[in-house]
């Protein structure tokens, strides 16, 4: 079945706090490498953005035939990342966090195909809260919404971001101390 566009523009941002064990392992590794390395918190993220929406701003359908094919999308992946990541910011307990893109894939949703941007958010220390500041598409489509799901241990927090509520604080699980 051909997937088409759907009624309104949504993006899906899924955040998963790295498991405690992995975080400690990471810290141990860091510690072994560099004795003075400060603790840090890593959150894995998957950000699905509709190709339909990206095409409106970045024109992915190069030959204009009405079909975005893989070759066309691949050519625009860098532009997509550049555009998307300037419209998303993370901070934690007031300190800013770093976004490190890992890879870009394709994800099918009920209303069409999405660019799936995978990345890690690294924040200094062991903050209690992660703040998301989201601006993607709001200037060209105020009805765009970001559906945010955040998993931290057993806690699952969900939120919908809109131009009126473009920022959200998400709880982070306290890191186990050794």
């Amino acid at each position: 079945m051909t997937a088409g566009a759907h009624s309104a523009s949504d993006a899906y941002l899924t955040l998963t706090q790295e498991s405690t064990a992995a975080a400690i392992d990471a810290r141990n590794t860091a510690t072994t490498r560099q004795a003075s390395a400060a603790a840090q918190t890593v959150v894995h993220a998957q950000w699905d953005i509709a190709l339909r929406d990206l095409d409106f701003v970045l024109k992915l359908d190069d030959n204009g035939d009405g079909n975005i094919v893989w070759a066309e999308l691949r050519k625009h992946q860098q532009a997509i990342a550049a555009y998307a990541y300037t419209n998303l910011m993370f901070s934690a307990d007031g300190g800013s966090c770093r976004i490190a893109p890992t890879r870009q894939m394709v994800d099918d949703h009920a209303d069409g195909a999405y660019a799936s941007l995978m990345f890690d958010v690294t924040c200094p220390g062991t903050p209690a809260r992660l703040t998301v500041d989201y601006r993607l598409f709001f200037a060209i489509d105020p009805s765009h919404r970001a559906i945010v799901v955040s998993r931290s241990g057993e806690n699952v927090a969900t939120a919908v971001l809109s131009p009126d509520k473009a920022s959200i604080d998400l709880p982070l699980r306290p890191q186990a101390s050794r």
Partner: protein, 397 residues
């Protein structure tokens, strides 16, 4: 499929038909369809956007682009364009007072999203500045018709005519009458307007043919109704509203195979997709579960974002594709608070009958009596429920 977009799980829900995030292997794999450059409407929108970029302070340029987006989105049944239009209007809506033309455009978007109270507020602000704004009166009349406030609609239609939109006003009046047990008069008025064809624009002619089709349905004249649907679609073949109305007509006539052909290129529209799924159900098609899953996921995505503009469709989905009459009745009750067109009454009665709760429909039955609604499908349904209401009921607990 990302886990967050999964629909509410039910015991019988099939697994998502989508694979996990992937990297395509073939350069030529089609991932997504978008409007093609060759589409004349797409070309027009591009020209209008360039015109606005050259003259960003021009209200006329903003209005033209916003209207083009709104019309294209309506045609496709794709609400993205309503959002794009809103962005174009935003600087004008931020001004106090906002120019009436921007307020009317914004009201059209809000009406499309079924945010009727907000739409009314914008229209009243526009009319306070410009009492002769025919488009504002017409939009207000349309909202009142959707919400079943026919006396107000009659008044507003006369204001459309008085504000210089005489043919528009007459068509408006003809439309209201079809809901007030005067479908015959409605047909006469609309036929007369359709006869003035050469002087009318194509979208207006199509609109009148669509109204005639619905009026013929009120009168139970299926041959006439189909003739008008075909005439309307010959004028505007991609109009989502007409396609969906004709699909409903075909589903009622037990012609589901024709629905699949009619809506072949319209699966992007949620309203059209529901009719495709209903046709698949009528045909016992093996890919029905996939259609049901996708429809459910689309409604779920709307719920997640806090939008709820397809009340009528959600009732039919719950009733005929999820087979959950209680849920359907609950959705019908909520929908009735917002929309009261004949189809809203019909799905309410169908849900009440399926849930065996005729008394739940008493307000709808009263509305049908008060407005003298004529409809060969709704009338027998209403009589049946009225009989059940007066019959002794067997308690279920």
């Amino acid at each position: 499929m990302a886990p967050v977009a999964a629909p509410v799980a039910t015991a019988t829900a099939p697994a998502s038909p989508f694979r996990a995030p992937y990297v395509p292997t073939s350069d030529t794999e089609v991932l997504q369809q978008v409007p093609a450059d060759a589409d004349p409407t797409v070309r027009d929108m591009k020209l209008l956007r360039n015109a606005l970029e050259l003259d960003p302070t021009s209200l006329a340029a903003a209005d033209r682009l916003a209207r083009a987006y709104i019309d294209f989105g309506r045609e496709l049944g794709d609400a993205h364009y309503a959002g794009y239009a809103e962005a174009v209007l935003a600087p004008w809506l931020a001004k106090a007072p906002s120019p009436p033309v921007a307020l009317v455009d914004e009201a059209t978007i809000l009406q499309y999203r079924h945010q009727f109270s907000e739409a009314r507020r914008q229209l009243k602000l526009a009319l306070a500045q410009d009492a002769n704004n025919a488009q504002a009166w017409l939009t207000l009349a349309t909202i009142d018709m959707v919400q079943g406030d026919y006396p107000s609609a009659v008044h507003e239609c006369s204001q459309v005519a008085a504000s210089g939109g005489s043919v528009l006003g007459i068509a408006c009046t003809g439309n209201v009458r079809s809901y007030l047990g005067q479908a015959q008069q409605s047909q006469v008025i609309l036929t007369q307007i359709a006869g003035d064809a050469p002087s009318l624009t194509v979208p207006f002619k199509a609109w009148v043919q669509g109204l005639l089709a619905e009026t013929s349905e009120r009168l139970g004249d299926w041959t006439q109704a189909e003739d008008h649907y075909r005439k309307a679609l010959a004028l505007t073949p991609k109009d989502n509203y007409l396609l969906v109305a004709y699909a409903d007509f075909l589903l009622d006539r037990q012609r589901p195979a024709e629905v699949l052909t009619l809506l072949r290129d319209s699966s992007q529209s949620d309203t059209a997709f529901l009719r495709l799924a209903l046709a698949k159900a009528a045909l016992n098609s093996p890919d029905l579960p996939q259609y049901v899953w996708i429809m459910g996921a689309r409604f779920e995505a709307l719920a997640q974002r806090g939008s709820d503009y397809y009340g009528r469709e959600q009732v039919r989905f719950a009733l005929y594709l999820q087979h959950d009459p209680r849920l359907a009745l609950d959705l019908a009750e909520r929908n009735w608070q917002v929309q009261r067109a004949p189809w809203d009454a019909r799905v309410f009665l169908e849900a009440a009958r399926a849930a065996e709760q005729p008394q739940a429909a008493s307000a709808v039955l009263a509305f049908i009596r008060d407005t003298k609604l004529q409809d060969p499908v709704i009338e027998p349904l209403a009589r049946q429920l009225e009989t059940q209401m007066t019959a002794p009921t067997v308690s279920t607990r």
